[in-house]
């Protein structure tokens, strides 16, 4: 290999990494149609989560004699089996879905990155033990595990968040571990060690900052999974019975026989909200992931 070629090769390696330039994240979100779509949808639902209660036309649990009424001027999305306004419930329900999604993903991110960092960096028996734990969580079907855990504990928002967070960290752990395995062999880590830096310092200052973009991209995807899981658990009656979420709406709809009563307005709005929000977040997550890991990009 000639000197020039070697120079070109290292220049490629020296390309700025994700987040190095302040412009890249903004470009990613605003410069691609996927980014714009994802951002717009997420912004819309974030607005619902923040102000849903304030803009809802009725209190979400206000019952009336107008039971399972189709959409009308008074109830734009019809009413529930107890005569409550479906639109109001959809608006208010956004908060629980998004809060559970974010909180569970945060727990998963912290657990997954800690396990990945510690296992990947220290290696040996620590790594083998953590890796086995990770594999166990990866292999076991998550939904049944969540159902069992949620059944064992009293249904509440905290339990829901904890159960989803505890069962969804393994993928993050695995990805972080793989990244740490390559990072710890990098020359700048050896240089830090030659300066006399300890393991804690090296992990905090050299390994973690270089895994954060990966953790971030992965966690965005986990938010989508967590929202879906919340809906699934609530639909199975394992959610917080005192709070309205899209999942509990679907559960109530099915309990009350809304589908057989042709009450599509009760089933489709919460279902569509879950689908569109999860889709938008996933699109953003994949966008970030492709950016962090160029190998996933279609054409170099």
């Amino acid at each position: 290999m000639s000197g020039e070629q070697a120079g070109a090769a290292v220049e490629v390696l020296a390309q700025p990494e994700f987040g190095d330039e302040p412009g890249t994240v903004r470009e990613l979100l605003l410069g691609t149609w996927r980014g714009r779509f994802g951002l717009a949808v997420v912004a819309l639902f974030a607005f619902m989560a923040l102000f849903g209660k304030a803009i809802a036309p009725y209190p979400p649990d206000a019952s009336s004699l107008d039971v399972l009424a189709p959409p009308s001027i008074h109830h734009l999305l019809g009413t529930t089996e107890s005569g409550a306004d479906v639109l109001s419930q959809v608006l208010v329900g956004a908060r629980v879905s998004i809060v559970v999604g974010l909180a569970a993903a945060a727990i998963s991110a912290v657990l997954g990155s800690t396990v990945g960092l510690v296992g990947g960096y220290f290696g040996g028996w620590t790594d083998r033990g953590l890796d086995a734990l990770e594999n166990w969580f990866l292999v076991i079907p998550t939904l049944p595990l969540m159902i069992v855990l949620a059944r064992l504990l009293n249904p509440s928002l905290t339990v829901l968040i904890a159960v989803i967070g505890l069962t969804s960290w393994a993928g993050t752990g695995r990805i972080v571990r793989a990244q740490v395995l390559t990072l710890r062999e990098r020359a700048f880590v050896e240089r830090a060690r030659a300066l006399g830096a300890g393991d804690g310092y090296i992990i905090r200052k050299h390994i973690l900052p270089n895994t954060l973009p990966l953790i971030f991209a992965n966690t965005v995807l986990i938010v989508a999974v967590a929202i879906l899981s919340e809906a699934a658990l609530s639909f199975l009656g394992l959610g917080d019975p005192t709070r309205i979420s899209w999942g509990t709406m679907l559960e109530n709809a099915f309990e009350s026989g809304a589908p057989s009563a042709q009450a599509w307005w009760y089933v489709i709005p919460p279902g569509l909200c879950i689908t569109v929000l999860v889709l938008a977040i996933s699109i953003l997550g994949y966008l970030f992931e492709e950016h962090v890991n160029p190998r996933l990009r279609e054409h170099g």
Binding site: G7, V10, R186, A187, E190, R191, L195, A197, P209, N210
Partner: protein, 327 residues
């Protein structure tokens, strides 16, 4: 060891577990590194010179032998910490040794943080270190590594090593990844530091002419062992070991080798998992004779400052050597 000694390496051995057994990367190396001295360690890829450098700072565990700082053995956390404060290292690849997420200012400050230097001194010392390597602190302090050229990166690495005001600097092929023009700049920076600060250098390189131009003393490594050492002019101009002789004649060094016959080596450097019996160089040696495949030669004084690990210089074998020459 005497008062002038900064570091002593004694019978150091480093082994790696490889697929085909144990690789003896460093196989019994003894070296003395004096204060303010530029000690060259020369050898081919795979000779163990980089591993030796790492082992000197405890970055790879040694299987046997000792590393001493001013006559005191380095073992345990405290002495290793002191060693890593007083002796710094520069690595080969400036594209890999800087954390892509740290700014230049952070990179150069880091050693001060790690070694617990009072915060008040940081700014002045970082400025001085950057100025010493010819980088304007105002212009470069806020940049990220990807915004720098290879030469600038290596200078940042040198500044980060200097900021602790070390007494010794171990340079592992510091210019082999750089363009020729940049190479000269970096060497000038290192030379200047030696002159102005009395900084001692261990200069690891495969480039004999570079070692000749820069070093006070040279140790030539072959397959994990020092086969010849002495003052740089002696080793380059009057090499005593057949391996050094081959290296010298292969490299276009002006005036070196005395225009003697060219001895090009045949074969490849053997695997460190399969070190040949006797003298480890004998399968490739153009001057091997009777006992070479049986006797592992120690370093033998050959006059002046020089030592060579070659049976040709063993006085006990003088008659056999004579006979071999007669053939």
């Amino acid at each position: 060891m005497n008062d002038e000694t900064l570091m002593d390496v004694r019978e150091l051995e480093v082994q790696f577990r490889a697929r085909r057994g144990v690789a003896r990367a460093v196989d019994g190396v003894s070296l003395e590194w004096r204060r303010g001295e530029v000690l060259g360690v020369v050898g081919e890829s795979g000779s163990g010179k980089s591993t030796l450098a790492r082992a000197m700072l405890g970055l790879v565990p040694s299987a046997a032998g000792a590393v001493e700082l001013e006559g005191r053995a380095v073992n345990g956390k405290a002495s290793l910490g002191e060693l890593r404060r007083r002796v710094q290292m520069i690595f080969q690849d400036p594209y890999q040794t800087l954390n892509p997420r740290q700014r230049v200012g952070t990179i150069v400050t880091e050693p001060l943080i790690v070694q617990g230097v009072p915060r008040g001194e940081h700014e002045a010392r970082v400025r001085r270190a950057l100025e010493d390597v010819g980088l304007d602190p105002e212009r470069f302090g806020g940049r990220y590594p990807y915004q720098l050229s290879g030469g600038q990166r290596q200078r940042v690495a040198i500044a980060a090593a200097l900021v602790l005001e070390p007494e010794g600097l171990i340079c592992d092929e510091p210019v082999s990844m750089l363009d020729a023009s940049v190479r000269t700049q970096i060497l000038a920076v290192l030379g200047e530091l030696k002159r102005r600060r009395g900084l001692g250098l261990v200069f690891i390189t495969h480039d004999l002419s570079l070692a000749w131009a820069l070093c006070d003393r040279i140790a030539v490594m072959y397959l994990g062992r020092v086969v010849e050492q002495g003052s740089a002019p002696d080793v380059i101009e009057r090499p005593q070991h057949p391996y050094t002789q081959a290296l010298v004649t292969a490299v276009p060094v002006p005036s070196a080798g005395g225009g003697g016959r060219r001895e090009l080596l045949s074969g490849e450097l053997p695997d460190a998992t399969a070190v040949p019996s006797g003298c480890r160089f004998h399968p490739r040696c153009p001057r091997r004779f009777g006992p070479c495949d049986r006797v592992d030669p120690p370093l033998i004084a050959t006059g002046g400052s020089q030592l060579a690990a070659c049976l040709l210089h063993d006085p006990a074998l003088a008659t056999e050597v004579q006979a071999a020459r007669g053939d």
